[in-house]
Every structure is written in C-alpha cells, then in structure tokens.
C-alpha cells in the first residue's frame, strides 16, 4: 500500500514538473508580446492561474467542510484544512503577482477598488480560518466550528468574482459574454498555465494530506 502511495506521489510530482516546464517555455518563449504593455504582461499568465487555483482550492475546502458536517468523517476535515492552507498560499501569490502587474501598468502597488478589496478580504478570511483552527484543541469541536466558518467564508468567493461585474472597475475584464479578449495564441498559453498550476495544486495537496494524516497519527500515538 505504501509503495503504491509512493509511486502515485512520484508520478504526480513528475507530471507537475513537466507541466510547469512546458508552461514556462510557453509563457516566456512562445506567447506573443503584447502590443500595449510589452513583456510585463506575461505576469498575467501567472497571476490568473494562481488566483483561479486559489479559488478552486478554497472551493474544495468548502465542499469538504460541508461533507464533514454531514458525514463527520475526519478525512473531510483533513481535506478542508489542507486545501484551505494551500489555497491561501495560491491566493497570496495571486495578490502579489497582481500587485506587481498593477505597479507596472497602473503605477500603484494597490488600490481599494472592489476586486482587490474583496481579494484582500478573502485572504483575511482564510488566514482567520487557519488561526481559528490553531486556537481550538478539542478535535471534534474544532472540526465542526472550522467547517461552519469555512462555509461562511466561502460565500465571499462568488461575491469576489461578481465584484468585477457589478461595479465599474479598473480591473481588466478578460472573459466577457461568450468570448474572451485574448488572441487564440494567448488563450492557449493561459490554459496550459492553468493546467500546470492545477496539477501542481493536486500534487501539493496530496503531499500535504499525507503530512496531516501523519500528524494525526503522531498525536494519537503520543497520547496512549
């Protein structure tokens, strides 16, 4: 069983490495140079997938929280925790890359426009989620309360995404109506970048899950 697990992990790491390598090649060497912004626009190929995968991870955490409340199995709680932690890392990356892009194109590191504001709020919510977990010791209660908080917090995600449509904003609208504002070549690179980020997320998630399971084992053994 362990050997299977190890092979399965190694395969994931290998796949991620390949996907990341391919995406990097595409982003820096194949993607066309943008007419107005120049090369700095390539940050877009990191910024968008980071944000998207961050949202995906937080959605997984939300779903796992729901499942935990319904089924009360500890593996859902583990998944909720691990995915939330990784999601927070991706969102951080999204915000930081977005900030660099903002400085390059708008001239400021930050502005309190709706999309950025709600991103900051989302970050704070999941940072608080992790803090809450650290502040509670009883495993069962911690899992339950954290699950409810994750559900409450996740409602912020669609508000975040909708913000870009509800208010007049400086944030570029990439996907409008049916099509996109990107040329097909750029779209291809973006998609490959998203694939690479997603694979990487899955890899790190399975690694983190294993870590959490080992942590629980240690706690249980330690208390005997």
């Amino acid at each position: 069983m362990d050997r299977w697990r190890h092979t399965h992990h190694s395969v994931l790491w290998a796949l991620s490495a390949v996907a990341i390598g391919a995406a990097l090649f595409l982003v820096f060497l194949v993607a066309p140079r943008e007419a107005v912004m120049g090369d700095v626009q390539r940050i877009f190929y990191f910024h968008v997938p980071a944000a998207w995968v961050g949202y995906l991870a937080l959605f997984v955490s939300f779903a796992a929280s729901l499942l935990y409340l319904l089924r009360r199995e500890s593996r859902w709680d583990r998944l909720a925790l691990c995915s939330a932690e990784i999601g927070l890392v991706f969102i951080t990356q999204g915000i930081i890359t977005g900030s660099f892009w903002a400085k390059a194109t708008w001239g400021v590191w930050w502005t309190w426009e709706p999309r950025l504001t709600t991103s900051a709020v989302l970050w704070a919510i999941y940072a608080s989620y992790l803090t809450l977990r650290r502040a509670m010791d009883e495993q069962d209660r911690r899992a339950r309360v954290a699950a409810v908080y994750s559900i409450l917090g996740f409602v912020a995600v669609p508000i975040n995404f909708m913000a870009i449509r509800w208010w007049r904003t400086v944030h570029p609208l990439v996907f409008e109506g049916g099509g996109s504002n990107l040329s097909p070549a750029m779209l291809r690179v973006l998609i490959s970048s998203i694939v690479a980020f997603t694979l990487f997320y899955l890899t790190v998630l399975s690694f983190r899950l294993r870590l959490e399971w080992a942590h629980e084992q240690v706690e249980q053994l330690g208390y005997r």
Binding site: L69, T117, T118, V121, L122, A124, I125, S128, T131, L132, A135, M136, D137, E138, R141, R144, V145, A147, V148, Y149, I151, L152, G153, V155, A156, I159, W166, W167
Partner: protein
C-alpha cells in the same frame, strides 16, 4: 408555544438580564462615544472637511461597540452555565440563534440611538430619513454574522482576540456597503448611483442570516 413566542421569550430573557445589571448597554454606549470622540479629534486636526469621514467613523464606532456586546453575550451564558440550560430547552437550536441575534440587534441599535446624535453634532450632518433603513440593514448584517461567530469563539483560546479576527473579514462587505450608502445619502447622491450597494447589503443580510440559521446547531452542540 409557537415560533414567534419562543423567539420573543429568548429575547426577553436577555433584555431582563440586561435590565438588572445594565452593564452591557452602558459599556457599549460609552465605548462607542469614546471611539467617535477620538476619531473626531484626530481627523479634525488634519482633515478640512470632517463630514467626509463621518460615515466611516459612525460605522467603525458601531462595529467596535457591537463587538463588545457580541463578546459579552455568549461568554456570559457560558460562564454561568446558562448555555447548558439553553441547550436543554426543548427548543430548536436555530431558534436560539434567532433569539440571540435579535437581542444583539436590539442592544446594538440602542447603542446607535445614543451615539448617533453625538455624531450628527460633531460632524455637522443633516438627518435624512433614508439613513434609518440603512442603519438597520447594516446592523442586521453585523448581528447576523456576529452572533454565530461569537458562539464559535466561546470555546476557543484567546477568545476576546479571536472574535474580531474572525468577524471583521466576514462582515467587511456589509460594512463597506453601509458606509458607501450612508455617505451617499448624506452627500445627497441620486439613488441610481448607490443602488448597487443597497442590493449588496440586502443580499448579504439574507444570505448570511439563512446560512447562520442553518449552521448554528453545528456550532453549539456539545
């Protein structure tokens, strides 16, 4: 007892507790007044048009004072062992939420009644009838989320710090909407411009009340 009677009984319980000690309302009001005063001093020295920051100051004062009230409301129950008593009642757990939420709403609103006249005086604002529903909706949002979050922190370490940490990020969209709306109304902006924020606030209230109502039993069970 029917639904409303049960909820009302819960609210009355909190009201009568408060009537006897009077400590929560007075501390909330004094704290809110102090917040307003401090902001009024600090901005007055730097900002020319003080009424511009008024909406923000009002809502900061309301949320800080509200935080105080929320923190006390569940801790009191826990410390006196009342929480167990409440849980033993043959009442749907979600009704406990409603009762708590309404009494928190009531206490914060009473605090607002005390603090707002001072704000109007200090910042030289003109009253507008539309402000009342805005205040109410904003307070409802704050109380809806605050009640369930304070129930969550009852069993956490460092709970006085955890409550603001957990509550503020969740409630921020509602606070922003409330500030925008208050500012818009005080500045005399046409309704069309600020309608979006009202939709956001109402949506926030509805969504979070429903979710909290449903999820409360998971938080409070032993």
């Amino acid at each position: 007892m029917n639904f409303f009677a049960k909820v009302w009984t819960l609210v009355l319980k909190d009201l009568s507790l408060e009537k006897r000690s009077r400590e929560m309302l007075s501390s909330m009001s004094i704290f809110a007044l102090l917040v307003v005063l401090v902001f009024s001093f600090s901005f007055d020295l730097r900002v020319e048009e003080v009424s511009g920051v008024a909406p923000g100051v009002v809502w900061v004062a309301i949320s800080f004072a509200g935080m105080l009230g929320l923190a006390r409301s569940f801790v009191l129950e826990r410390d006196q062992g009342c929480l167990d008593g409440l849980l033993l009642c043959p009442v749907d757990r979600s009704l406990l939420y409603l009762g708590k939420m309404l009494s928190n709403l009531l206490f914060i609103s009473l605090t607002e009644l005390v603090v707002l006249p001072l704000c109007f005086a200090l910042f030289n604002l003109t009253f507008h009838l539309l402000l009342l529903p805005i205040l109410l909706l904003g307070t409802i949002g704050f109380s809806a989320v605050g009640t369930i979050v304070s129930a969550m922190t009852v069993h956490a370490r460092a709970r006085e710090v955890m409550l603001p940490i957990l509550l503020f990020p969740l409630v921020l969209p509602a606070l922003i909407a409330a500030v925008k709306l208050t500012g818009g109304v005080l500045d005399g902006q046409p309704w069309g411009e600020i309608r979006n924020w009202m939709e956001l606030l109402v949506g926030f209230d509805v969504i979070f009340m429903v979710i909290s109502y449903l999820a409360f039993e998971y938080v409070i069970e032993e």
